[in-house]
Symmetry: C3
């Protein structure tokens, strides 16, 4: 059984944001899957997806601080600078974290650990609305 | 054809560990799949999974050294410090390496390259037993 | 419906290279899939795959510069040095970027964003031909 749906996320400020609830709500068909996978894909190269801690907002702020340190905006050796200081850094961060996630499905729900949630990682200062493609498969 | 199984790994010391054999042994149904995928997912946010070199233990030690350098325990700008110096660093490393892997299956076996193996990446000093969800699909 | 195929890429110089067209051309069966996923897997531990910007060659040069800075060849603390200064750095980069990608399929085509392409990330100075396993599933 296959289902596929687009989900457009409202614009989020630069940083890391929990979106588990929005993803799950967009796919009522999830309830009918006993065993399967949900694939979440972001159709952009300057924002990304990851799974991390779902409880403490300070974890998400630390992600933002750490990645800004590891991949500095306007790094002196970047050649691709026309679209602003945050653009090339955003491409790098997006590839390090990844454009897609596959999540196990069991008995009609995501089989995440207790403390896991899905993050939208917005790497641009003004990234705007972001499009996801959700693909659900299973039986 | 879909199969899903939980696999609890015994506690491993902080570092990188080959677990290919344990993963494969947990899924005897693999032998019956001609073409498919195995999805391996870790239900934690301070340990992760990756594929790398399966022969030299020094590669796994270098992974541990490199990631400790790139994401230092107790980094001065971390705000989320209540659970110990290794906690927030573990969340970052886990997202950089990822919580899930999809591996191709062919003729009843994982279609890995000669030198590839699955690593458990234990980022906590005392992470304890780790739960994996294995999802096998194919025909 | 499942299809699996090997694709051997000709040797590429060290750096980041767009391979979307080669991947798609290797799988004529893609045209018959209404909803599905394409899984692309590289059977090596010193080259990797990612999705990023498909237009500007300077983005791909910046990836190479950034990752060489973040994971220096012959880093002083590497123990695994027998196969050359670029070897252990290549293993690290390959795990950060990842050995596999799952891409959504819709109406016979990859459902990528306008600016997204698939990169081969060649981390060795002379990596040679690289083997991919393409697994296509859907209906």
């Amino acid at each position: 059984m296959w289902h596929q749906r687009d989900l457009t996320l409202k614009p989020h400020p630069r940083g890391f944001h929990l979106i588990t609830r929005e993803v799950v709500s967009a796919l009522p068909e999830l309830a009918g899957i006993r065993v399967g996978l949900l694939h979440v894909f972001i159709q952009h190269t300057s924002a990304s997806l990851t799974v991390s801690e779902n409880a403490s907002p300070d974890v998400r702020r630390d992600f933002e601080r750490y990645f800004n340190h590891a991949v500095p905006d306007g790094w002196a050796d970047f050649e691709h600078t026309l679209e602003g200081d945050d653009d090339m850094a955003a491409h790098i961060k997006a590839s390090v974290l990844g454009a897609g996630l596959s999540l196990p499905v069991r008995d009609g729900r995501l089989a995440l650990g207790t403390w896991q949630g899905v993050y939208l990682c917005e790497h641009r200062n003004s990234g705007g609305a972001r499009r996801l493609v959700l693909t659900l498969m299973g039986e």
